[in-house]
Symmetry: C2
């Protein structure tokens, strides 16, 4: 069992001093967002995460969600936890006040989201999916749909789900078979099975709003024939209250490695009379709408990687402070806490450095989302959106892969105790393993990065990123002869050149030989993540150098930046060596020899 | 659920063509070991692993071992599996025929051991621990003890255990409190609790021979006061048959992340009249004897890392061949098996390359063990022993860390199915996680490497290793303009220089500042592993170039070597950069800022 404390100090530093809350707070509609208010919000959110959600984490793992007589029951305490969550208004943090939201910038709601995901990943998935449904309806719902569903979803009175996957259609959505037919009254009847539906059913709210990707009546094959439908669990009556039960039900729950408290449902639509569905937006544009849901969800899953890392790191630090074992290498009168042993310290420093880099990157992308959404200058908004699009796959895959690594290190720091379920370290190791898989596997993210995000525009977005990085390099150089600045400049320059070289390779290779370009795409994504994280750490160092508050924290930040430079940024050239190696070993290997 | 096929073709190639079974088969006492005989033995062992042990793996995970009325019951089928295992004589593979063994070289018994561990890790631990007990008794037992226990242990009629850990004494054995007192009749009475005792109790055999590290009667503090005692579960009677029940019992089983079928016991010694114990060797030399058990066990655990990797790789290949999803990037009329998608192929190639490198290294160490044990020339034997000692921590830590990575990749290749328990990918991910922890955490291995194995002799053993590597580099060069040879030569040279530089740093740093030297010790160990693996891959390429049998396999081997060179060896310089960075970030970071 491990306690969780929201890392509010670092969150604040990143928001205020590195990413720039001030840049965001001057955007139209966000003028009320003052640092003091944000501090209060973070403190209050932290209380819920720490006191309510975190203690449910082990309970949920042990008990899990269960299905009884066709109804899913959440684990003990989850319904009450959810009630407190929505009563605090947290579900609507980034959404308009008109719908019952808090109207906070994504930058701030991302920090809150970090808390929910860190305190209880299985719980946190429920509002995360609701948010995805809100995103789609806000963007392309009719006014009537908005008026009916958004107040319920934004407050969290109802939850949302995202129904894409079928047994034969995981990554390849073009092979979806779930089918919608005209009902003759403007509604549709949806029939088919969906799998891996997160929080597909539960007993925490009166209604659930399923967003279902299904083949349109006109039966065009492939992804071009898919539309998005609202299929509510209970069909709202004339007053918008849950009315008659729709023809949709959970068939069974998956028996999973982790996130046991998050019910992963096989859902049956329309086994009897057909599930009543309402078209979202236009017919046959379902895939496009799905990406509206998916993009934010991918950022949120990347954030889960960070959140789980932070949780695991805190548990490691706690254990390492308290576990006394062996004398110090430099000599000590008796055994010391293992936090004093060099290899344990190294593990903690490496966890910490990666966490701070991930936090910087994710919060920066969140701020860019605010700018993209709200900046009055169209070119600025467009550039911000381009940056967000570029970094979505990087955040999703790099932060979740790193999360798996860090949760594994947490087990290691616990020694034998880490392998015993009681400590909770094993739960984090199990739970986090889903994050590189769902919302598009990390392999798909890598392909998205090299294909759609880098090669398609001839490397323009990637080079714009490198230009920003160069500005930071210049600032590091101008910062004088401070050793951390100098060391970070040296390592970041090398990483920058490695990324630049690899980018050139990707841009040159993809158009002529997509398979060859895709073969090392995961390495390219890692290189991008490491370098972008290093860029954020450099910006943190520049901010820390000018900081005055909490000098011990700022000093620690400088050491952490240096550690990232020495231990993580140094990995960059190796990745470029592998990416640009002309061995062609991946695609030339004879399949029957595997 | 996944089938397992023993990788006999690669095992044979490594044994015969890379490591040199012929070198081993000319050693005194091993003259009967012909390649044909070895082939037969491997085929027969493979049948047991594939048909008997592998099918029990998922059963064991699901059911687990259980404790009932103070007795541990093995999971269903395990007792029968064990019976078949010992009836085949497999338990005694590397031991003398006098004791009922097969008198096989370690090289061959290591290949067999790989099969047991790959097919069923939880099962495989039982004979592994018996082997450790045999090692100690063979080396330092009295003739009487040998005559009484060795025939039972070598045949596997009885099993052995290793009792070191106590709640306050994990890594730090000096704080062991279990106490032995003279009984006045030459025997001892042992009292205390031990934790994490693998197969500490079970119902598969008539007796269990516990080897227990306990404080000697004279009560010298620290590790210098520890002796090793035999504490049989049933005290053998005059005829060597299990007689009266000794005062030792399992109190409870740990609830673990994985290896559920391997009962991990809390053992109580002497709660009533005191457990009858028999001193092994001399008093207060327990730690030394423990290392006899530990050294082979560490190699065996490193082998588990390889074995689990092989199992996971096979499952990945099988899934990737059968799972059809999305069209090929280069275009295809319909969806293809995912083995055709570049990122999946890359994952498979990287798994494969690391597996073959690990197999090469472990089998080479096994052959060195045979030479150290048996070579008539004392200097040759001593050099071989020095090499074994140097590489034990490398094999243990590098192969288990890599095993965790590869079992995680296997989950990834399965996508959502990997996170569902039914496929078995999740089990491997859970099971393998113990391997970097037990038999000395990988942090302890790293410390052992930089301290006792590299710095203590001023780098002599490490430089002898580099000399051998240089000879291979020269052979690569002499092999002409073959591109694989040239590429491997280039990458291996760079890695060699990186290891050499890091070794100089370790040798220079450890004597003056052990904490600073130990801080990056895990990185140094990884660098050593990667480079040593590259050396073995280079030797494999040289052997494959001259090979004639099975040309498709040899061609695949060359591609795999090249992949290792491009994707793994390239990581070496980054590790040296981090090791030799003078940031001092690990030890200078303020503890209260974590």
């Amino acid at each position: 069992m491990s306690a969780y404390a929201a890392p509010v100090r670092d969150m604040r530093f990143v928001m205020n001093s590195v990413v720039g809350l001030d840049r965001v707070a001057t955007l139209p509609g966000l003028e009320a967002v003052e640092p003091d208010l944000v501090d209060q919000i973070l403190e209050e959110g932290s209380r819920l995460a720490v006191n309510v959600l975190a203690p449910l984490n082990a309970v949920g793992d042990k008990q899990g969600a269960r299905i009884e007589n066709g109804v899913v029951r959440a684990a003990d305490g989850f319904a009450e936890g959810y009630r407190q969550f929505i009563e605090g208004g947290w579900n609507g943090a980034p959404f308009e006040e008109d719908w019952g939201g808090m109207n906070l910038p994504w930058l701030v709601s991302t920090a809150l989201q970090e808390m929910w995901q860190a305190s209880n990943l299985a719980f946190g998935l429920c509002p995360l999916l609701t948010q995805a449904a809100i995103d789609a309806l806000r963007e392309v719902g009719t006014d009537e749909q908005k008026a009916l569903y958004l107040p319920k979803l934004v407050t969290g009175e109802w939850t949302g789900t995202m129904n894409l996957t079928e047994p034969q259609a995981g990554t390849d959505l073009g092979s979806i078979r779930t089918k919608a037919e005209h009902a003759g009254d403007g509604t549709y009847r949806v029939r088919g099975q969906k799998i891996y539906i997160t929080w597909g059913d539960h007993d925490m709210t009166d209604n659930i709003v399923h967003l279902v990707l299904a083949r349109s009546p006109d039966d065009i094959p492939g992804v071009k024939g898919l539309s998005l439908y609202i299929v509510p669990k209970f069909i709202p009556d004339a007053d918008g209250r849950p009315g008659i039960r729709n023809d949709v039900k959970p068939l069974s729950l998956e028996h999973k490695l982790g996130i046991h408290a998050s019910p992963t449902c096989i859902m049956a639509y329309g086994e009897a009379e057909g599930a009543v569905g309402y078209l979202v937006g236009e017919e046959n544009r379902g895939i496009e709408y799905m990406f509206i849901m998916m993009n934010n969800a991918r950022l949120a899953v990347g954030l889960q990687g960070l959140a789980m890392s932070e949780r695991a790191y805190q548990q490691s630090v706690d254990y390492a402070r308290n576990r006394v074992q062996s004398r110090a290498l430099a000599g000590s009168p008796s055994a010391v806490a293992i936090i004093n042993h060099p290899d344990v310290r190294r593990m903690l420093m490496t966890m910490r450095a990666q966490i701070e880099a991930m936090r910087g990157l994710i919060y920066d992308v969140a701020a860019m989302t605010d700018i993209a959404d709200r900046h009055p200058d169209a070119a600025t908004a467009k550039a911000a959106q381009q940056r967000v699009d570029l970094l979505i796959p990087v955040v999703k895959a790099w932060c979740t892969d790193t999360g798996v690594e860090i949760c594994s290190t947490n087990v290691q720091i616990h020694g034998g105790m880490g392998f015993v379920e009681e400590t909770g370290a094993a739960q984090h190791y199990r739970d986090v393993r889903i994050t590189p898989i769902y919302e598009g596997t990390n392999g798909i993210q890598s392909l998205d990065l090299v294909g759609r995000k880098v090669a398609r525009d001839g490397g323009a977005a990637a080079r714009a990123f490198l230009d920003d990085l160069d500005a930071t390099l210049a600032a590091l150089k101008a910062a004088g002869d401070d050793t951390t600045m100098a060391a970070t400049h040296k390592r970041l320059s090398v990483a920058r050149d490695a990324l630049s070289e690899a980018t050139d390779w990707v841009v040159a290779t993809m158009p002529s030989d997509a398979a060859a370009g895709a073969a090392p795409s995961a390495l390219y994504l890692k290189l991008f993540g490491i370098t972008a994280g290093g860029w954020m750490m450099a910006r943190a160092a520049l901010a820390a150098k000018d900081g005055s508050e909490d000098p011990e924290y700022l000093k620690a930040k400088m050491t952490t930046v240096r550690h990232y430079a020495d231990h993580i940024l140094t990995q960059a050239p190796a990745l470029t060596d592998a990416i640009t190696a002309d061995g062609g070993t991946v695609m030339s290997f004879a399949v029957d020899q595997f």
